[in-house]
Amino acid sequence: MKKLAIITVTVFLSIKAASADPDNDSLIINDDIQLVTETAAPIHLENLDTIYSGWRFRTDETQALQVDDFDNPAMVFVDKAIDLFNTIDGIEGKACVSCHESVAQFRGLSAIMPKVIDGELVVLESFINDHRDQVMGAEPWKWSGEKMQSMVALIGLQSRGMPVNVKIDGEARPYWEQGKEMYYTRFGQLQLSCANCHEDNYGKMIRADHLSQGHANGFPTYRLKQAKLISRHNRFRGCIRDTRAETFAEGSDEFKALELYLASRSIGLTVETPAVRQ
């Protein structure tokens, strides 16, 4: 499979000029935080040699929005999440800050999520809602709603620049296998798998879109097209819907497993949250 992929890539490169490849820009945020946007693929990723951040496939204009936090439109939502972190909600009369002194103590968390906790695969959204329910006695937030994704972005920001390093062995293994199988399943009437576009054809144009490798290390991502923060599961839902398939629900076990598998494909890239995309 790997050999075939290499041959395909070689043939492709020899026919086509390198115009479609990821560009050579490097990403340093606020003149300070150097992000890894290109590195050797993790060993379990048998069909790719090098992994690239989605940032490398975007136009200069879009890239620029992520280089300085003053220009990053996602930061408005990060600020809102700081307020939410300090706001009492629920019947227990608690805010996040009542137990967690500072959001900075979550540094590193997003780099190792999703994670199996007490035998169950947990992603950040379910972690947050569990705390809201069990500790604060507060209503759960909607998965892809502004409050939830702002909080996921704020917590993710604490790990920005740290390498993605999810665990895929031990208890995580069956979830990882499930996610991997989904990644290679050709869904819908168009019979497209994630791999068809993001592994076999990254770097090429599909109509007006420049296909990336589909890493999720910048999520929640501010998507210019939708002018808001987009959750990972919302993006998964959109992709599967666009194969003319019956999609899965946000927060479903299937999408959690896919999220773990996708994170494992990004091992070695750095957390970019909150990224900006087209």
């Binding site: 869904f187 819908g188 019979q191 109509r207 398939a245 019956e246 999609t247």
Partner: protein, 162 residues
């Protein structure tokens, strides 16, 4: 009383058969296509393809062929994709029957291809109701009609370089 009733049924039955036989050629159902090494000899609609309509399907709707392929003859249209090969000179390389087979279901010839099958109604995983994300219910329509396949093939047959 029994006899006329049977006659009546027979009458409808026979008329129905005659009706089918004399009606204009019905489309070949996706399930009934005979692929010969991936090629399909017979027109799916029984009619000739319309080149102009084919050119339009190349650019929009469920066709949208240039999302993945480059076609110099359509260079007035923006954003040709790079996923599939250029279709310039495709009629020099493939016969009409081969092009029909590839457009209808390229996976017969190229099992691993990313190219969707445009005239196929079974064998899908979690088939949805178009782009709604909801499950599909009822009869499945192929991505393109028999006539649309013929139109696209007719257009492709104009792409000659020699």
């Amino acid at each position: 009383m029994q006899t006329p009733k049977i006659n009546l049924i027979t009458f409808f039955f026979v008329s129905a058969i005659i009706g089918v036989a004399t009606a204009t050629f019905a489309d070949i159902h996706p399930g009934d296509i005979i692929y010969n090494d991936g090629a399909v000899k017979q027109s799916l609609s029984g009619k000739a393809g319309d080149i102009e309509s084919g050119a339009e399907i190349m650019n929009k709707g469920a066709g949208n062929c240039i999302a993945c392929h480059q076609v110099t003859a359509l260079s007035h249209l923006p954003f040709h994709g790079e996923i599939g090969p250029s279709l310039d000179g495709t009629a020099d390389r493939w016969s009409e029957a081969e092009l029909r087979g590839i457009v209808a279901n390229a996976k017969i010839w190229f099992p691993e291809t990313i190219m969707p099958a445009f005239y196929k109604t079974t064998g899908f995983i979690r088939l949805g109701d178009a782009y709604t994300g909801k499950a599909h219910e009822g009869n499945v329509e192929p991505l393109l009609t028999a006539q649309q396949i013929e139109d696209v093939v007719a257009f492709l047959m104009t792409l000659k370089e020699e």
